[in-house]
């Protein structure tokens, strides 16, 4: 039995989420699908499991071309998908969740179902109380329930999308053991992840995706630096640039503890000077976001102090952080920054320095016009935020930034932008740096990190494992560190 994906295309407007993806997986193989967030892995797996229809291309299982129009079609064909967030109905019992979607007569035979559940879960080494509420299960147990259910429904292909997020170490071991067992029994297991070490530990072979395409395939074991190079692309050497003019310290972190979300920082100290640029490197979800959230005042640190311009802001609210000169631009431009349905003019009015009760729309329009000119936004004052392209949304966000920012926090400032747009955005950010703003930005782009940072904090599983001097670091070293190890 072979699962073949042939030339799968899926476009969302101008975004080519899948741009001619082809690869095949043999039965009995534990196959990894590796790639950064946004590489197109989830889109591809949603196509294979019938959640979305591809624009073109074929899914072939066991020599038969499948017509997948819904998840029901996929499971009928033997393809089962375990989503990152297991699709469990929380108010239902374990048994009802197990029986959901199973074929059979209208009347449900719960007794027979419970027997089936016990038999299946026994084979897999899981234990369930059939009458327990699903909401009381841990994420790991929900996963186990879904795996049991999918196999009971006859899945010959099991797809797991980032299955280790949010489960305990023991559950992870148990999961890996079961997956290996299933592969040995002749199932096709597709393990989707952006975590290098898991793919290394588990998979027999791996396909790497980047920007909607397959960029490499390999049979394990492969040195991680090779996988990193495939995931992130070729790293050009950073051009020489003058040493930063180091101003007085602006941000002082002392013995900071942040353990919310994906972060696991304890006793972290760092001093950042005015005009310094700090890059936050790491695989997606390694704690960068939670660290930025803590610096912005969106989550309270668990311990330690944050001093900004000599005053302690550790316990202040987000709005007090704004008043203290912090500005935060998270990755979700249209969800966490701009307002869908409002125009450029309205955004400019919303963030104008002076805020009198009545709005002078003539003035707002001319302000919008000058923002459009200054930041080269392709749009008119009447253009709504959602009608702008990603690059223009980012420029509008920069145009909305107040004049006096001491600490600028950004997440993926140029994600999804073309090269010219990205460079322009950085020109504008560096103007702020030259004015003495201290800048921290998270990025998944090694080039961007090496070119624009003065220092790079490398995050791995929630912790900062290394602080690199960007002037002496190179892409290879960074690649190793992102994967969680030192260059040997």
């Amino acid at each position: 039995m072979t699962l073949e994906l042939v030339d799968i295309h899926k476009h969302f407007g101008a975004v080519r989420a899948n741009d001619g993806v082809s690869f095949s997986v043999e039965a009995g193989e534990l196959h990894g699908l590796l790639g950064e967030n946004g590489a197109g892995k989830s889109t591809l797996m949603n196509v294979v499991s019938g959640f979305i229809e591809a624009d073109s291309g074929k899914v072939i299982l066991d020599g038969e071309v499948l017509d997948l129009r819904s998840p029901a079609d996929a499971i009928a064909a033997g393809i089962g998908m375990l989503h990152q967030d297991p699709l469990v109905f929380l108010p239902f019992t374990v048994l009802d969740n197990f029986l959901l979607g199973s074929p059979g007569p209208e009347r449900i035979d719960r007794k027979a179902g419970a027997a089936e559940l016990e038999r299946m879960s026994g084979e897999l080494g899981f234990t369930f109380d059939p009458d327990q509420q699903a909401r009381l299960l841990t994420v790991g147990e929900r996963q186990q329930l879904q795996i049991t259910r999918l196999l009971w429904l006859g899945a010959k292909v099991l797809i797991l999308d980032e299955p280790t997020t949010g489960i305990s170490a023991t559950q992870r071991e148990q999961l890996f053991f079961v997956l290996k067992q299933l592969a040995d029994e002749g199932l096709i297991v597709l393990f989707v992840s952006h975590k290098l070490e898991e793919v290394e530990e588990l998979c027999d072979s791996v396909t790497v995706m980047r920007a909607g395409r397959v960029v490499g395939e390999a049979t394990m074991p492969v040195p991680p630096s090779e996988l990193v190079a495939m995931m992130f692309g070729k790293v050009i050497e950073a051009p020489q640039r003058p040493k930063p003019v180091v101003g007085p310290p602006v941000l002082e972190l002392t013995a900071l503890d942040v353990t919310k979300g994906t972060a696991d920082l304890t006793g972290f100290s760092l001093t950042v000077a005015a005009g310094e640029v700090i890059g936050l490197a790491g695989l997606e979800g390694s704690g960068q976001r939670a660290f930025l959230d803590a610096l912005a005042g969106l989550v309270a640190p668990d311990g330690g102090t944050v001093v900004l311009d000599g005053s302690d802001v550790t316990k202040l609210s987000y709005r007090q952080h704004l008043a203290a000169g912090v500005h935060y631009l998270p990755a979700g431009r249209l969800e966490e920054g701009l307002v869908e349905g409002l125009t450029i003019e309205e955004h400019v009015a919303l963030t104008a320095k002076e805020q009198p009760f009545f709005i002078d729309w003539g003035e707002a329009e001319s302000e919008a016009d000058s923002a459009i000119d200054d930041y080269r936004i392709k749009g008119t004052p009447e253009s709504t935020a959602e009608s702008l392209s990603g690059g223009n949304q980012q420029r509008l966000l920069l145009a909305m930034m107040p004049a006096d920012v001491d600490l600028l926090l950004m997440e993926h400032p140029t994600r999804g932008l073309d090269l010219e747009s990205a460079e322009y955005v950085w020109t504008k950010i560096l103007e702020r740096r030259d004015d003495g703003t201290c800048i921290l930005f998270a990025s998944a782009d090694l080039d961007e990190l090496l070119i624009y940072s003065d220092r790079i904090l490398v995050f791995f599983s929630g912790r900062v494992i290394k602080v690199l001097d960007a002037a002496t670091a190179d892409g290879e070293e960074l690649g190793y560190l992102i994967g969680g190890r030192e260059r040997s």
Binding site: F12, E336, L342, L350, Q355, G379
Partner: protein, 352 residues
């Protein structure tokens, strides 16, 4: 590059209203009634004489006031189902002022209007506080408080404010005439000029509040994207409360008009369902204050005029309700489809 155009909203609305009228005409024709004759009768029933016009206008004002308030709460993203209770609370507060405050007409009338606005605003703030502090969805909180307000009005009418010797749900004693909302005699009928002026003023104020002030812009920001609003430093909860206070005050004035202008007393059903009807008006108006006045007039005219159908064409007067409901459903359906098409065009480029 798309910009919001007038046509993108108006075309589907006009088309849907046309379709609704066509379907209503077809229904009339099927039951053997001449559609044009029916339309004429409805118009005559609503505006056939100076008295009828005065009554239509008096019914129109609370609907416009409630609708204007709903435009504000909708702008902040809130479904103010509690508007009925806010109308009743406004009427209760106005009744208190009408009963207790002595003095000449202008003093009492001003006092009833202010009291009504305060009553409505306080009742709405309660919904807002439940929502912002207690995390109770405003639909459920509002609906609950609607029943409480109705119960309170009934209790007051048969209890503390019952008529001398009789405790009946037919209402309190008639207010003394100084407390009646003043009218002006025009064409031989008592025209509710003050009420109409307040309704028009409310429409204009709400329109400019949302169009030309920071408060309005921030309300819209909170309504459209609470997360972005928060990150922009806008205190979401405060603006939700402002919206409820404004919307509730306008509903309270609607209740005052009902009590002091129409019934001249407090009755349990003082709201006249104008709150719920207002939600339909605002939905039909596309959540903008711009068109609520004519739409509300259409609603009231159909409701008032369709009694004529009963008398003259031997049709049940419920036909008016059928016409209104069909219109609203058609417009919602039509604009939803247009919006879906628009969204599909606009979000091309975003992952699901």
């Amino acid at each position: 590059m798309t910009t919001r155009t007038w046509g993108s909203v108006a075309v589907p609305t006009v088309a849907s209203v046309g379709a609704a009228f066509a379907l209503s005409a077809l229904l009339l024709w099927l039951v053997g009634a001449p559609p044009l004759e029916a339309a004429k009768l409805i118009l005559q029933g609503a505006f056939g004489s100076a008295d009828k016009t005065a009554n239509t206008l008096l019914a129109w004002t609370p609907l416009v006031l409630a609708s204007a308030g709903l435009v504000v709460t909708f702008a902040a993203g809130m479904w103010n189902i509690g508007v009925e209770g806010q109308i009743i609370m406004g009427a209760i507060f106005a009744t208190f002022a009408a009963r207790e405050i002595p003095g000449p007409a202008w003093v009492v009338v001003t006092a009833t209007l202010i009291a009504g606005a305060i009553g409505g605003a306080l009742w709405a703030l309660l919904v807002g506080l439940l929502r912002t502090k207690g995390n109770v969805n405003e639909i459920f909180g509002g609906l609950g408080l609607d029943f409480v307000a109705f119960g309170l009005a009934t209790y007051l009418i048969i209890g503390p404010w019952s008529r001398q010797g009789i405790a009946s749900t037919s209402g309190t004693d008639i207010f003394r005439e100084e407390a009646w909302l003043p009218t002006i005699t025009l064409f031989g009928a008592s025209m509710p000029v003050l009420a109409v002026a307040m309704a028009i003023a409310a429409t204009v104020v709400v329109y400019y509040l949302l169009r030309g002030t920071r408060l309005g812009l921030r309300l819209k920001t909170v309504g459209k994207s609470p997360r972005s609003a928060y990150l922009l430093g806008i205190p979401n909860d405060a603006y939700i409360l402002y919206a409820f206070a404004i919307g509730g005050a306008l509903a309270g004035i609607a209740g005052t008009v009902q009590a002091t202008g129409f019934h001249h007393k407090l009755v349990p059903a003082v709201s006249g369902n104008y709150g719920f009807l207002g939600i339909l008006v605002v939905l039909l108006a596309g959540f903008s204050a711009k068109w609520i006045d004519p739409i509300a007039l259409f609603f009231i005219a159909v409701a008032a005029g369709s009694t004529q159908l009963d008398l003259r064409l031997d049709l049940d007067s419920a036909f008016g309700d059928v016409l209104l409901t069909v219109t609203v459903l058609f417009v919602l359906f039509g604009t939803a489809i247009a919006a879906q098409k628009r969204r599909r065009r606009a979000t091309m480029g975003a992952e699901p």
